[in-house]
């Protein structure tokens, strides 16, 4: 197995992101997957993107545009 390298973008580990850790993953070109070297997450680009969507569950107002009136208290 050759050393891990950089992928197309510097994807962070979705599992670590969920615990407020930004860890860039490294890319295994043979298996076409990204690996977290801190936790046990491994996944291809599609899986990373899907997990990132999942990580957004807590942002319930992410799509809401507040009016100034709504922001006034």
């Amino acid at each position: 197995m050759a050393q891990l390298g950089k992928g197309r973008l510097n994807y962070r580990c979705p599992s670590c992101f969920m615990r407020d850790l930004d860890i860039d993953m490294f890319y295994d070109k043979e298996k076409d997957e990204y690996c977290c070297i801190r936790c046990q997450y491994r996944g291809n680009e599609e899986d990373v993107l899907a997990k990132n969507e999942m990580a957004r569950f807590r942002y319930k107002s992410m799509k809401k545009r507040f009016t100034m009136e709504e922001l006034r208290q």
């Binding site: 510097n10 992101f17 407020d20 942002y59 107002s61 992410m62 799509k63 809401k64 922001l71 006034r72």
Partner: protein, 671 residues
């Protein structure tokens, strides 16, 4: 009154962006003189400048040391100053370059972490190089943090400096953690909005001219005052790429959208409502965030688009007459013209991201920084005693090489707050209501607040000077009044009443929290509005669980002495004689009790106590609580133990319907 919304847009030509070597340079041996790196960095700066100018906005160009060696960067700054009115300033960020490394033989790049000797040498070097290139000294400077000693030296040597970026709000252990414990910006506990730093401690605002460091400080970015308090600071600020980093954007119909960014800017616009009509916002995106390789999951196109959209939003607001773009130096003049030393900064902040309706109130003045959490019944969940103006030198050769945080007395995230696991207590200032064997903490009573600014009146309705604003003086109970000069204004939070249900009694209670301008006191009133059984017994326990620290880990508490003061006459004698210190000093009456902290879990109760207080010698802070109202008023102090390294100050009293119980928390320096 329409709010004035002032924005500072700052760009820096950072020839070797902080992230570049680690991110874009991965897999290459380190070489900070790489031609490609320099070209790309300058291109990003040019792009940022163009996007601001295209939207009719002027900027503050903060030249980095490295960029002063680059003729093109210098030429651009001169040209944009002429053409667009941009200010040419000087940042202490972006030190790394070949010239710097050769001269200082270190890879350190954060100015506050150097030894004082190096700080002086670097400042001289950088400012003189700037003068050599431009023929004048800058009016603005900055870094992620500017320690007081550094600022004092700069002001003394280069008096033209009037504005500086001087802290990143709540960038501390949380940011360190997010960066896999490798990003050492430990600077919690400062202001989120512009302030005048004191000469002794940057985070603590100056209370008067004598304490004035001579600069107006601005925070590095305008951050989400709710999201950043419990999350990574670099995910939630008016910095488009921070929003990408936090992943609070989404894709819809092939387009990326980030309404959160606009909501954040707009919430900053609303803050004028609490600050005499002046709202402030800043954007300062380092070039490393817009590199061609992409950043985080975002390709360059998205990095570019988000920056472009951010500038467009500011530009559109300006066109609508809703925004004034000032340079940093212009802002410093504006600030000094419109603000005074004692005017607090207030922010009633609401959740705009998570879909809750949580509300926090942040208060900042020369004596304290406070966070009140309406989701916890108006509990104080963060408290920094600026009244102590604690000396806290940082950098190599000091006791705090990296830790710039202003110590807390209360920090609910680092010291549990209301909820602890199985044992012990966490830091919080709240109250419990007790009926029979039942007890309800206001931390579990969710509510909302309204903000008001009022002129303090005496009993006859006359406006009073703050020096006479002794709200408890009928009983002589307000301890340690300060000498005030300005007319007494208060900032008040009026909370919606909450219902407290016991098995056979319902109580409606309203909380008011009052901050007197120019005073280091926080007054909390609990009004018992209704009781389902007016004859029922009801007891209140007003308490503050506190400790001290700057990080998540406990400190040595043996520097703490607790006192519950007995008869008033004896306490006043203590005051007259200067200070009440020693535990068994002659100033204490026989009714008074004290505890020298030794983790022995001791408690003392003093009926009709005039005050309870704690000296925390490690941070030169004396915190005092007084309480009055109801019947059988008892002051108490509690020591903690090893598994609960806290102390408690409190009062209990019996209340009936219609009663008001008032406590005052006062902070001061104690040497």
């Amino acid at each position: 009154m329409k709010n004035r919304f002032i924005v500072n847009i700052i760009h820096r030509p950072e020839m070797v962006p902080e992230y570049a070597e680690k991110v874009t340079g991965q897999g290459k041996a380190e070489d900070i003189g790489r031609k490609a790196l320099l070209t790309e960095s300058l291109d990003i700066f040019k792009t940022q400048q163009r996007l601001a100018h295209e939207n009719g906005l002027k900027t503050t160009i903060q030249m980095t040391y490295a960029s002063l060696f680059n003729d093109e960067a210098v030429a651009i700054a001169k040209e944009h100053h002429e053409k667009y009115g941009d200010e040419i300033a000087l940042t202490l960020l972006g030190l790394p370059c070949k010239e710097f490394r050769e001269k200082y033989k270190t890879k350190d790049f954060c100015i506050w972490m150097f030894s004082m000797e190096d700080k002086i040498s670097i400042v001289n070097d950088v400012f003189e190089k700037f003068h050599e290139r431009f023929g004048f000294y800058p009016e603005s400077t900055g870094s992620y943090y500017m320690d007081a000693e550094l600022t004092n030296y700069i002001k003394e040597t280069y008096p033209s400096v009037k504005c500086a970026v001087a802290t990143c709000w709540e960038e501390g252990p949380k940011a360190y953690h997010t960066c896999n414990n490798s990003w050492y910006t430990l600077m919690d506990g400062g202001p989120w909005a512009p302030w005048i730093p004191s000469k002794v401690n940057t985070h603590a605002p100056a209370a008067n001219e004598a304490e004035d460091s001579g600069i107006v400080a601005i925070p590095h970015l305008s951050r989400d005052l709710l999201a950043c308090y419990d999350g990574n600071g670099s995910n939630f600020g008016t910095h488009p790429q921070n929003v990408l980093r936090g992943m609070s954007y989404y894709k819809e119909d092939g387009e990326y959208k980030y309404p959160y960014f606009y909501n954040l800017v707009d919430q900053y616009r609303v803050l004028g409502d609490y600050n005499n009509g002046i709202a402030y916002n800043m954007m300062f995106v380092g070039p490393g965030w817009m590199n061609k390789m992409g950043r985080w999951e975002a390709p360059y196109e998205l990095l570019y688009q988000s920056y472009s959209d951010g500038m467009k939003y500011y530009g559109d607001l300006k066109k609508q007459g809703e925004l004034e773009d000032l340079t940093m130096a212009e802002w410093a003049d504006f600030y000094r013209e419109h603000k005074n030393y004692t005017e607090p900064e207030c922010a009633l902040w609401k959740d705009i991201l998570y879909g809750s309706d949580k509300q926090l109130f942040w208060y900042n003045d020369p004596f304290m920084r406070v966070c009140v959490n309406m989701e916890q019944g108006g509990a104080i969940v963060d408290l920094r005693p600026y009244a102590a103006k604690l000396e806290w030198p940082v950098g190599i050769g000091t006791p705090h090489v990296q830790d710039c945080s202003y110590p807390f007395l209360i920090q609910e995230k680092y010291r549990a707050g209301y909820f602890t696991h199985y044992a012990g207590e966490g830091t919080v200032r709240s109250a419990k209501l007790i009926h029979g064997s039942e007890e309800v903490d206001l931390c579990l009573c969710r509510t909302k607040a309204k903000f008001s600014e009022e002129v303090m009146k005496d009993e006859k309705g006359r406006t009073v000077e703050l020096a006479k604003c002794d709200m408890n003086d009928k009983k002589g109970k307000l301890v340690l009044p300060k000498t005030k000069t300005s007319a007494g204004k208060i900032r008040k939070l009026t909370l919606e009443p909450v219902d407290i249900e016991f098995s056979d009694l319902k109580v409606k209670l309203q909380t008011e929290i009052i901050f007197g301008e120019g005073s280091s006191d926080i007054r909390i009133k609990r009004n018992i509005l209704e009781m389902s059984d007016p004859k029922a017994e009801l007891k209140i326990n007003e308490y503050m669980v506190a400790c001290y620290g700057t990080t998540e880990y406990p400190e040595d508490m043996t520097c703490v002495t607790l006192r519950a003061m007995g008869a008033l006459d004896s306490y006043e004698k203590g005051l007259e004689s200067g200070r009440i210190t020693g535990i068994d000093g002659g100033n204490m009456s026989s009714a008074s009790r004290s505890i020298d902290y030794a983790y022995k879990c001791r408690e003392e109760y003093v009926p009709d106590a005039s005050a309870v207080n704690a000296s925390i010698r490690a941070i030169k802070t004396l915190v005092t609580m007084t309480g009055e109202g109801g019947k059988n008023n008892v002051g108490y102090i509690k020591e903690g133990y090893a598994f609960s390294p806290m102390f408690t100050l409190g009062y209990t009293a019996e209340l009936s319907a219609g009663d008001t119980y008032t406590t005052t928390l006062a902070l001061e320096r104690e040497d």
